[in-house]
Amino acid sequence: MLTSDQINTNSGDLYDASADRYKKYAKARHVLDVPQPLAIVYPKDTEEIGMLLKFCNDNGINVIPRAGKTATEGGLENWKEQTLVIDCKHLDRILKIDPYNMQATVQAGVPLQVLEDELRKVGCTTGHSPQSKPVAKYGGLVATRSIGQLSTLYGAIEDMVVGLECVFPDGQVCRIKNVPRRSGGPDIRHIAIGNEGTLCYITEVTVKIFAHYPENNRFYGYLVKDVDTGIKALREVVTNGFRPSVARTYSEEDAAQHFYHFHKGKCVLLFMAEGPKGIVDATCQAIEDAAKKFEDGIIEQVDSKLIEDWFNNLNWSQQDIDDEFEGMKEHDSHSGFTTEISADWETIPKIYHNVMKRVREEYTRAHDLTMLGGHSSHSYINGTNMYFVYNYDIHCAPQDEMRVYHHPLQKIIVEETLKLGGSMCHHHGIGKYRNEWSKEEHGSAYYMLEKLKEAFDPNGIMNFGTIFYQEEGHKYQI
């Protein structure tokens, strides 16, 4: 089925493949408690993927689809003794860049940065800029419903995907054609988008592309008195119909770690406007109007150069990820964790304050927290997200870190979010460590999700434990 050079059984690589960034600290300290996959395989085309999936389906072998390896929620973690990791490394071709129809087609293993670089040569951009941009690949971006830092203007990955090709466990290849819009029944793109490798393997993606006007970029920053004021200002701009590419509000604590050179212990509100000049001018006017409207809560305006400089140095590189890994080996610490949720405008400040209160009052390791805060970074006409961020000193064994620190904090955040009707997972996906709340997240609609799993993956070979709670995997969660 494959040649020997397409099969990797190197023990170091299998160890690396047994978990993702969710257990990054335990992984760095070499105390992972999950089984290693049997092998990592590198198919060269859709046909080989179909054969591999069919073989695994017929033989009850768990499959973990893998692309850029930047998953943060356990989606790439292995919970089965018999597991094959199917890596899309060789699906690395840009198939077509079509500036006339403003779309590009790539194979699943094309890094986002590579497509972005090619598009820039023809005056276009993907409009997609997650922090993992230099490393992430299209298969993973689509499978996890990725979002980028410019989402308020360009949308998230689901707004960009025009069509795609995917393969199901029985070997069936499906191609969803590329059209601007249609009313051909339910939008079946969404069976693949965000499936997190639990229903199918995405092999090819066609995305929208956008005209790029970097010369028109403009930046705004303000110190504001509290998170609520910042969120009101974001809402003012967005609900008035304007779409700055970046629109963010940081709590005092989070601002202190991102903007150490100008935060002055206050919350930070910032915007970036981009696009055609007329639109940028109008967006800037809307930002200035919003700042004027909420001037009582705005302490001072920040030099826009500082915001521009921050934005230009925001993305991780592979070197950053490697450096973090080495740092975790040397020290009993890491750069902390996050949990990202979303809700409507009215609800998001309530969730934020409820979480802060509960963590301070209930969390028994609160004295180990070195930072607890958050920021809103992706806004919509009806609401926004909240990215809770927390750092802590680690006083437990590396293998206990998640259950002592991250998971209890995440539990509080998820509970408070679901209680008020928000979503527990804005853009990292459910992975394996929020699956215990998947039913609550979807409510009565979970029926639809379950039926999809039953229909497309009846033997349950696709990414065991991701999205769908599994009793057998619970031992890895506690």
Binding site: G265, L306, T370
Partner: protein
């Protein structure tokens, strides 16, 4: 072998929050941590106990009651007793008065060795080990980077100064003050012990027990007096952003050169 560890919980210098409007540190948001030199002292004691299960360790601190969660974490390790000496009457004590108070408590305790850190992150005067030795009438040594052997009669240890590594032997009971360079590290708290109730091992001691005279403690008992307290004024300098290009590298290099760093 009975060991007493005298420790201090100090503000975490990495988590200072500053109120720029009032130009002062936001003390209510200051996080406390176990002083790094004292971490080494407790860690060494635990190491000794690991070798000799009959050893007994008491950790003593003079601190506000708010350090209780940190002290409880120490007690979730293999520490036998924890004592927090805390009384509003002790507020304002300098190192001399602090040593008097600690000494008054320690006079009532039997131990073979007192382990502590050499200097604290927030004061760094290194007065307390020497002053405590004076109060207790014991020998003491500071800046210890390794303890080769320790029993109820003698300690053999190494001290590093600017020129030499020197090994000493000292009779016990005595005071051994470790330096952070010793590198003794605390073990992890076992997962099943994280919520363990250790209240039966923790004692609060006030001046009602110690009976220190008013003129021995607090500001009255302090030989040093604070003449004036003022917040250091922070000035915002005009920032200059450079890029990771030749011009940026030259600018940074010139800046460092002007100030004598390179």
């Amino acid at each position: 072998m009975r060991m007493v560890c005298v420790v201090k919980f100090v503000p975490d210098v990495d988590s200072f929050s500053y109120d720029y409007a009032q130009d002062e540190v936001r003390r209510d948001q200051v996080r406390m941590v176990l002083n790094p030199d004292d971490v080494c002292a407790v860690s060494f004691a635990l190491k000794m106990k690991e070798q000799d299960g009959d050893s007994h360790i008491e950790v003593v601190t003079m601190a506000p009651r708010s350090v209780k969660p940190h002290m409880e974490d120490l007690l979730r390790l293999d520490i036998d007793e924890g004592t927090i000496i805390s009384d509003p009457a002790f507020a304002g004590s300098d190192t001399y008065a602090t040593s008097t108070i600690l000494g008054k408590y320690l006079e009532s305790r039997k131990f073979d060795c007192l382990l502590t850190g050499t200097r604290s992150l927030d004061g760094a005067t290194s007065h307390v080990p020497a002053q405590l030795a004076e109060v207790l009438g014991m020998d003491q040594m500071q800046d210890i980077i390794a303890i080769e052997s320790l029993d109820s009669a003698e300690a053999v240890f190494t001290i590093e100064d600017e020129q030499y590594l020197r090994t000493y032997a000292m009779g016990m009971p005595g005071i051994l003050a470790l330096a952070r360079a010793s590198g003794y590290a605390l073990p992890y708290i076992a997962y099943e012990d994280f919520d363990k109730d250790v209240s039966d091992k923790l004692t609060f001691v006030t001046n009602a027990t110690l009976h220190c005279a008013p003129d021995e403690i607090g500001l009255s008992g302090s030989l040093t007096q604070v003449v004036h307290t003022y917040a250091k004024h922070h000035h915002t300098r005009a920032g200059k952003i450079v890029h990771t290009d030749d011009a940026g590298i030259d600018a940074v290099h010139s800046f460092l050169e002007e100030r004598g760093y390179v």
